[in-house]
């Protein structure tokens, strides 16, 4: 009787799970193995894949200057935009915390960039604002500064894209705000009696108590930043220019796969990306036990 019921439960559960299971096998696991296989072949979609072993990887690591350049550019972008975004998010969240009036309105205003920032429209706006004769330089001109064209100069365009990403700190800020609400007020009261100043309170109470949220934001920001595509595509010329200064890793992968139809090569690039993102995520996870404090455990 019991086992019959159990079986019934198994059946129903798997019925509910069916769409996800089909998706998992056909859209995730299968394609993952597929791209691993394709990465070991030469494939242009028209003729069947030709096995070439690790040749794609050998080329990528030894002969492909664009790969190295795009990887370094993406690192630069990630290492600039993730800390900047989180710092702004934390700073504004701290300013908005502590029962400020009209919190709802401010939260909305600061969230709007995150809401709209992923669109092509905003990327185009960015291109205009940072253009040689755009709003930023007209503003700088009031102070007698003659700004360069931020989008056509290969040295500066990456900062234009970083600024677009930083601008979208609102979603991280909302998560920080929720985290700050969880910090018990008596911790601050007790430390105040002990004579701790604001700075000490921030480093001894706020930051440790917020570390799980910070950890979460950090992991998600890193994963998302590595995959940034639309801003590089629209703010640049769509082919990585000027002078490969917008050749983000995902853009390079896209061009290889869908412009040159070198799909084996693109798959190899995708697997390298997976390993790199996995390594960074693992690194953050591994270091987390030194700086992330959970629940009631004392932070020391």
């Amino acid at each position: 009787m019991k086992s019959a019921r159990r079986r019934q439960s198994n059946w129903t559960a798997y019925a509910f799970l069916t769409p996800w299971l089909i998706g998992f096998f056909c859209l995730t696991l299968g394609p993952m193995l597929g791209s691993l296989y394709l990465s070991l072949t030469q494939y242009n979609l028209l003729s069947p894949p030709q096995w070439i072993g690790t040749e794609n990887y050998r080329q990528i690591f030894t002969q492909d200057g664009t790969f190295t350049a795009s990887l370094l550019l993406t690192f630069k972008y990630v290492f600039l935009s993730v800390p900047l975004r989180l710092m702004f998010a934390l700073a504004i969240a701290l300013a908005l915390n502590k029962g400020i009036r009209a919190l709802g309105i401010y939260r909305t205003v600061y969230y709007i960039p995150s809401l709209l920032g992923g669109s092509v429209a905003i990327a185009i706006v960015w291109r205009q604002i940072f253009d040689g004769s755009g709003a930023l330089n007209q503003f700088l001109a009031w102070f007698g500064i003659n700004g360069p064209s931020w989008i056509s100069h290969p040295d500066y365009i990456v900062y234009t894209i970083v600024s677009l990403s930083t601008w979208q700190f609102g979603s991280a800020m909302v998560i920080f705000l929720a985290g700050l609400k969880q910090v018990p007020a008596d911790l601050y009261e007790a430390s105040q009696i002990d004579g701790a100043g604001k700075v000490k309170q921030f480093f001894r109470i706020t930051l440790p108590m917020l570390s799980p949220v910070l950890f979460f934001n950090l992991v998600m920001s890193i994963i998302n930043s590595f995959q940034a595509f639309t801003p590089a595509y629209v703010i640049g010329d769509g082919r990585g220019g000027p002078l490969d200064a917008t050749m983000f890793y995902t853009l390079y992968l896209y061009l290889k796969g869908f412009s040159f139809f070198d799909m084996g090569y693109a798959s190899a690039l995708a697997w390298i990306m997976l390993v790199i993102i996995g390594a960074f995520t693992a690194l953050v996870f591994l270091t987390s036990r030194f700086w992330v404090f959970y629940g009631d455990q004392e932070g020391r």
């Binding site: 129903t12 859209l27 939260r107 709007i112 809401l115 992923g118 669109s119 992991v219 798959s267 995708a270």
Partner: protein, 301 residues
């Protein structure tokens, strides 16, 4: 007791009060300053959006001559010109296409993610732990690692230049993030409800429809809003799978109007850009409460 002390200490209180009043004024001044800084910085943050809206109403010749937001001459012409679209296909078509994709995606995610979430959150079955951890891993998987084979499959099925590649994944609960969101929500619901329903003779299917789904509504709303926005903005997939202009979405339409090397009709482009943000903004403002709480509790995006 109060009355006694007030009469006795009244003289001492007077000086105390004036001192506390100055202190109070200083606190209020600081609060006011803080508000001014927050508002000022907020306006700076909104400037790009405001610039877009204001420029979309400026005549073409003066769009780039002044960065200011106020203009003397307002015109609707940009909207009229932009709406004409590309190659004889109007932006109305692009909006309809985007809306169709987004709505179908929302429906798919609501149905299939809630089903999977019910199984993970409430039912017991073999290998549950294994499936659940696999589901968690897929959340962090970069899209690019499945991109090429998915494209190959869709092209073998001759689904390029159809909406299937954009919509089908949502009907297969491919956005595992929403499964996790709903699982967490379902785990927070009292289990006694299911148990008493079972005693009353409800099957698991009936529990899903009659108990879990109605209580899941807040999570369903968050899912719907985020799915809508993400499919609306999903420029990358749309670009890969759609090249027929009749199937173009709003994002593709704007990107095609936009020519990086030189521009003929900036006004029309900016007008359509501003318009493309409208549906998202309206949905956000209408459902803000669910939206921001959804992010706060699950850490979406």
């Amino acid at each position: 007791m109060n009355i006694k002390t007030t009469s006795a200490d009244s003289s001492a209180n007077a000086s105390e009060m004036s001192r506390s009043r100055t202190a109070h004024r200083a606190v209020r001044l600081r609060a006011l300053l803080k508000h001014i800084v927050i508002i000022g910085f907020g306006l700076l943050m909104l400037y790009p959006v405001l610039w877009l809206i204001s420029s979309s109403f400026k005549p073409n010749q003066i769009i780039f001559s002044s960065p200011g937001l106020i203009t003397q001459t307002w015109t609707f012409e940009n909207y009229v010109n932009g709406w004409k679209g590309l190659q004889g296909v109007s932006f109305g078509r692009f909006f309809a296409n985007s809306a169709f994709i987004s709505v179908m995606s929302v429906l798919g995610n609501l149905v299939t993610c809630s089903m999977a979430a019910y199984a993970f959150g409430r039912l017991n079955f073999r290998f549950k732990g294994l499936w659940f951890s696999l589901m968690l891993v897929t959340i962090m998987l970069p899209y690019h690692v499945v991109l090429v084979p998915q494209y190959v499959i869709y092209s073998k099925l001759e689904w390029i230049n159809t909406y299937f590649p954009l919509i089908l994944p949502k009907w297969l609960a491919h956005d595992s993030f929403f499964i996790l969101l709903m699982v967490q929500f379902i785990r927070g619901l009292p289990k006694e409800l299911d148990e008493s329903a079972t005693i009353d003779g409800c099957s698991q299917r009936q529990i899903y429809f009659r108990i879990i789904l109605p209580l899941l509504v807040p999570a369903l709303i968050s899912t719907a809003i985020f799915t809508f926005i993400w499919s609306w903005d999903d420029f990358f997939s749309q670009m890969i799978y759609l090249s027929d202009i009749n199937l173009f979405t709003v994002q593709l339409g704007i990107r095609s109007l936009f020519d990086p090397s030189g521009q003929s009709d900036w006004g029309g482009l900016l007008a359509m850009s501003a318009l493309s943000l409208l549906p998202i903004t309206v949905i956000f403002l209408a459902f803000q409460r669910y939206f921001l709480e959804g992010i706060a509790t699950t850490g979406l995006k």
